[in-house]
């Protein structure tokens, strides 16, 4: 259950935290089992992400993955943005504890939802293909 320094940096000083008031797309996702809630707002120009912001209720990994995905997505085309995978997010953070991998999925799902929202609002087809399949790693209970 140890976080990398990179995770702790993003958690301690998250990037792009907040809400874009006049957002072009909003994605709201939540993992009801774990209790994580995430809201991604995006500003889009020419199908490119000008700005990405997040709000997150969740653990260290949830906050760090939200923060890092905003960095990763900024400036990307919406096609590339929806291709960001769980594995890439984890890699960008120098790894995540196995039990926390679901949080990185949530971040990717939030971004996809925001992009789809933008497309649908503009009368276009959603492109994300829906949320990435969440693999449930083997979990257990607290050890103390």
């Amino acid at each position: 259950m140890l976080y990398s320094d990179k995770v702790m940096d993003h958690f301690g000083s998250p990037h792009n935290m907040g809400v874009i008031e006049d957002a072009d797309g909003v994605g709201e996702v939540g993992n009801p089992v774990c209790g994580d809630m995430m809201k991604i707002t995006i500003k889009v120009t020419d199908d490119r992400l000008d700005d990405v912001k997040f709000q997150t209720l969740g653990c260290g990994a949830a906050i760090a993955t939200s923060s890092v995905i905003t960095d990763m997505a900024r400036g990307l085309s919406i096609e590339d943005a929806v291709k960001i995978t769980k594995a890439e997010i984890a890699r960008e953070l120098d790894g995540l504890p196995p039990a926390k991998m679901h949080c990185s999925v949530l971040a990717a799902d939030g971004l996809r939802a925001a992009v789809d929202d933008y497309l649908v609002k503009n009368g276009r087809e959603p492109i994300s293909g829906g949320p990435e399949h969440v693999e449930h790693d083997e979990h257990g209970h607290a050890a103390e």
Binding site: G35, M38, L57, C59, I63
Partner: protein
Amino acid sequence: MTEKRVYLDNAATTRTDPRVVAAMEEFFTDTYGNANSLHAEGRAAHKALEDARARVAGAINASRPDEVLFTSGGTESDNSALIGLATAGGRTSGHIVVSAFEHHAVLEPAEWLGKRGFDVTLLKPRADGVVHAEDLRDVLRDDTILVSVMHGNNELGTIQPIRELAAVTHERDALFHTDAAQTLGKIEFDAAELGVDAASFSGHKIYGPKGTGVLYLKKGLRFAPYLMGGGQEFRRRSGTQNVAGAQGFAAALEIIVAERETEAVRLTKLRDRFEEAVVGKLDNTYVNSIDSPRMPHITSLIVKGVEGEAMLLHLDAQGIAVSTGSACSSGSLQASHVLMAIDCPQEIAHGSLRVSLGRWTTDADIDRLVDALVPIVERLRAMSPVYEKMFGTHKA
């Protein structure tokens, strides 16, 4: 860690008291014999072991020293008590009751027994964090053989009415075990007065060494040893005895018992001051089981609209160590089974924070915690996409 740390996770483990370390020293390099050897080195080790046993027996008011078995910790004591009492004499069936908010070291062997012919009832505590004797009476049966309810809950801090629970159990001729890992030395533990048949203790919760524990087992009970081999500990627990550990346990216990009453007063004051401050300064925040009998050293807080691990990590970054029953903190996907057992809704259970005070906790530590926690919570709530919606505005 440059600034002085504030350690408020004493329910997870405690610092070994330097007096305890000093008490163990000679048993590593001087009185190092095997307590079962016949020669002088063995006899000296045996004497030290039996001295430790007698002191522990005295401190918990066992009726004889050989009711005290030294183990490797609370987990082994719990496993041994559950399985050893249930399967004694080759028994393969019977009804067992354990409370739903036991430590996993009790729940798992209960489940193990449940898969092997025993019938296990999980008895829920009430919302007050207490297992009520009437509720126990309702689930007891003619074929009930064993009941296990913890003395003090490690997350909520609530004290269970062990004397009543044991009495109700005995009315049905079943045995009663209590996991007293959290209460030992914090509130009184008197084996005779409580009337329990077996009890588990852990050294590292009482400023003693990790890897040490005690199983109190009332004389004359049938018992199937869990660790099997050389037949040490009156043939009830095999393995070369950890003499230094036993002496460390005894020293730790004597110290904590001697200081118990003054410490209880001191810690209760600190705890109450913390609870008042934090509930005063943070809205949508409350203390679990606040009106129930509680141990002096544990506070279980629910801070709505934040996630426990996030609070924990921010506090840690500011030099303060606490714990949480939040799912995310444990590598599990579910919030603490303890909070679930008292019907704390899953969403807010994620906002649990356990603060557990100890021997070296000061007023200044509490101030630091309150001063750090309030802005952390405000910041996390401000980050949340749902806080406003769910709980309204937070305090300015």
